[in-house]
């Protein structure tokens, strides 16, 4: 017999067990947490904007940013948000194989993004300590990269758990849903970051 909400089968007709079935609030909790997390990035962005506003030449001459590779990376990350959404749609339709496929593709796209980021770091010709701009650049993109990595681990975790029969189904999909929300968060942060650090240099 399946419980009324999501995952846990509750073997009871007994009154007192009713409270254990409170709504699954994990998704709500994650969204609340991510609002907070976003404010940390907002702090970094604010610092970046203050320095941008108070320096005539920004970024300074020897620390220009690369544009082509990050643009490709942006395309990959943004489209991966659609891909992961296909994955959760699949599991909501009880299509486990579909979910595994789409989550697998998302993970691959995330890995490509991270690899691209590392490649960019190695070919920029300046490091964290070079100047104030490079401080901001590496710190912000680095923190974002760390969050992409966490998202990747979450997706791989979902894939790992999905090997167990009936772990995820059309009525038990909180795990994939949370991984998806986290992935969207990472994506949104990147869009702001890409606009501020990369696109604004074009102006």
């Amino acid at each position: 017999m399946q419980g009324a909400v999501d995952s846990t089968p509750v073997v009871t007709g007994h009154e007192v067990a009713a409270h254990e079935e409170h709504q699954d609030l994990r998704v709500l909790g994650l969204i609340t947490f991510l609002c907070s997390e976003f404010l940390m990035f907002a702090g970094f962005f604010a610092v970046f904007l203050v320095f941008r506003g108070s320096n005539a030449q920004w970024p300074p001459e020897e620390t220009e940013v690369e544009l082509l590779l990050p643009a490709v990376n942006t395309l990959i990350l943004v489209s991966s948000s659609w891909v992961i959404n296909l994955g959760t749609k699949a599991i909501k339709a009880n299509d486990l194989a579909g979910m595994r496929k789409w989550f697998g593709i998302t993970a691959a796209m995330g890995a490509v993004f991270l690899a691209g980021q590392v490649y960019e770091y190695m070919n920029l010709g300046y490091g964290l300590k070079t100047n104030l701009f490079s401080n901001c650049f590496y710190l912000t993109t680095g923190f974002h990269g760390a969050h992409v990595f966490i998202g990747l681990v979450l997706i791989l975790g979902v894939l790992w758990r999905s090997r167990r029969a009936n772990h995820y189904s059309d009525i038990a999909h909180t795990g994939p849903e949370m991984a998806e929300i986290y992935w969207h968060f990472v994506d949104v942060v990147w869009i702001v970051l890409f606009t501020l650090i990369y696109l604004l240099t074009l102006i």
Binding site: T8, V10, V11, T12, H14, E15, V16, A17, H19, E20, H22, Q23, L25, R26, L28, G29, T32, F33, C35, S36, E37, F38, L39, M40, F41, A42, G43, F44, A46, V47, V50, F51, S54, N55, L128, K129, N131, L132, N135, C136, L139, F143
Partner: protein, 558 residues
């Protein structure tokens, strides 16, 4: 617990994680997920840190008894002033008021069996002891952080690098704890109320915790950002806050105060919540202006996010910013005044019981009005520039934090100790504690205003001999405060072991936590209660419905 044996345990029905009928003493030292255990863990740990921070304060005051530096080395003095502030804020008031009372009371007040995310809750608590350990360690690896609790660069980047890094790490940990706790509080209050409880039937403490949690959620991560940048500056060669390499120290101040001004509301909003519970119960009257108090918490939360620059009037702040932030700062006094007047109106004509909880609540009222008024004076930029970084500021914030937050925590302890332990605190000893605390507070913190007006700078171990007399008065006051905690700790320890049995509802109160046993059983109720009346309907007929039928009531009825 005879009933528990006959009833079917809910968790056993699920075939998993069963729990015992009652926690043993050692369960309180484990990764326990019961919100009541976690609440007690928060309270006990924070009261221990309170002793540590207080000990540092007493040593500093001993140093300041004479104008010369003759008791502590200047470096040690700096380390004490830094860690006194840090411990009192982040490991005493915040965990006691938010973590302790919030975790213990919220599920009981809204009729939930636990918080929404019990494991997350336990993780949030267990981030605190290691943070304290890091601060302690910072004394052994380089003599402790020296740059004050604000840790402004460049000072924080050129003194005691390793201890400063440990300090930053400790703060990031308690900040994370605070964020995780807030997620839990918000989701719990939003989604886990008993179905019969509407938003406007919630106890005001829960409203206060909603406002507190929103503030913590939005402000704390910004502090984390500032501290991460500081860690990078100190250890990894970046130059965010190094003016000689293009960095900007004022940026740190903005990030820091964007958190740390709301942090003062983090420390006082839960206390306002405690006040709104304690006063009606002991005045035997419905709270005056329920909605006004509830919404003023939210107003403080909102406006409080836009006042932070009033800490920076002397940091080269542009004139338009001074005007804007002076105005916004003065506006915060309005919702605060709404609360004060509502409490006074609640007391007006009530049948006041002078219990120790009530004494501390009324003491808080007077102290906080005084501290609030000096806050309004500081909010005005012209005056603030005059007394910036003097003892006037120290006097002000100790009046609101000690006379406000600490009095509120004491009041809450005297009020809910019977619920938490099943035993009453000793009232005569409590009154001794109150009188000593009240006298000590006035003696310690009032002369500071005068010292500040005369120009004595804060954060110094040596001062001009003309300030000696008032400083000695302050030092004597601080000793009175130090002595005042002795009857309290004795009272708590003794009463916890052998105090008078409290029964479920010793105060004859109407909020939901008093409908279960003291201390409550592990999942709070056998059967969840149904709300039949509002939280403050004292003096009305419904008051007689409170308390389990047939139980004798410990106090007089309205």
């Amino acid at each position: 617990m005879a009933q528990a044996e006959v009833s079917i345990k809910p968790t056993e029905l699920q075939g998993g994680h069963g729990h015992p009928d009652k926690w043993k003493w050692y369960d309180y030292f484990t990764f326990n997920v019961d919100h009541k255990v976690i609440g007690i863990q928060y309270l006990v740990t924070s009261f221990l840190f309170y002793l540590v921070g207080g000990f540092m304060a007493v040593l500093m005051r001993t140093e300041l008894a004479t104008p010369d530096s003759d008791f502590l080395s200047p470096d040690l003095y700096n380390a004490f002033l830094t860690n006194h502030g840090t411990i009192m804020i982040f490991l005493w008031i915040v965990p006691a008021a938010i973590g302790g009372f919030g975790n213990y009371l919220i599920p009981l007040m809204i009729g939930a069996r636990d918080m929404a995310f019990p494991k997350l809750n336990a993780i949030a608590f267990w981030l605190n002891p290691p943070a304290g350990a890091l601060l302690a360690a910072s004394f052994f690896f380089g003599g402790g952080a020296q740059a004050g609790w604000t840790s402004y660069p460049p000072l924080s980047e050129i003194t005691a690098n390793l201890p400063q890094t440990l300090w930053c790490a400790a703060l990031v940990m308690v900040g994370t704890s605070s964020i995780l706790g807030s997620v839990n509080f918000l989701v719990t209050i939003w989604k886990m109320r008993v179905p019969s409880m509407k938003w406007d039937q919630m106890p005001l403490f829960c409203w206060a915790m909603v406002a507190t949690s929103i503030l913590a959620l939005f402000a704390t991560p910004v502090l984390a950002a500032a501290l991460i940048l500081l860690i990078f500056d100190i250890n990894f060669g970046t130059s965010f806050f190094k003016p000689d390499a293009g960095g900007n120290v004022v940026v740190y101040q903005h990030l820091f105060w964007f958190y740390s001004h709301p942090a003062v509301y983090l420390m006082i909003l839960p206390i306002f919540g405690i006040m709104s519970e304690v006063i009606p119960v002991h005045a035997r009257k419905p709270i005056f202006g329920y909605k006004a108090i509830a919404y003023s918490s939210l107003t403080i939360c909102l406006v409080g996010l836009f006042v932070w620059v009033h800490h920076m009037f002397t940091s080269g702040t542009a004139p338009w910013m001074r005007i804007f932030f002076t105005i916004s700062t003065l506006i915060v006094a309005v919702p605060t005044g709404v609360k004060i007047f509502s409490w006074v109106a609640t007391l007006w004509g009530g049948k006041i019981r002078y219990t120790t909880a009530m004494l501390f609540a009324v003491g808080l009222l007077s102290m906080f009005v005084f501290g609030g008024l000096s806050g309004v004076t500081l909010g005005a930029a012209p005056f603030d520039i005059h007394v910036h970084d003097t003892y006037y500021v120290v006097g002000h914030f100790h009046y609101v934090l000690f006379g406000g937050s600490v009095f509120g925590i004491y009041s809450g302890i005297y009020h809910w100790f019977p619920k938490m332990t099943g035993r009453m605190l000793n009232e005569p000893l409590g009154k001794v504690h109150f009188v000593l605390t009240f006298i000590g507070t006035i003696l310690t913190f009032t002369p500071m205003h005068s010292l500040g007006m005369q120009g004595m700078p804060r954060r110094v171990a040596m001062y001009d001999p003309q300030f000696a007399d008032l400083n000695q008065l302050v030092t004597i006051g601080s000793y009175v405060l130090a002595v005042s905690v002795i009857p309290f700790y004795i009272n708590v320890i003794w009463s916890w072991m052998a105090g008078k049995e409290a029964g479920p509802n010793p105060w004859n109160a109407m909020t939901m936590e008093w409908t279960t046993d003291s201390p409550p059983m592990i999942e709070n109720w056998e059967v969840l209660p149904v709300l039949t009346h509002g939280p403050y309907e004292y003096g009305m007929d419904k008051a007689d419905q409170v308390g389990p039928a047939g139980e004798p009531v410990a106090t007089t009825r309205p």
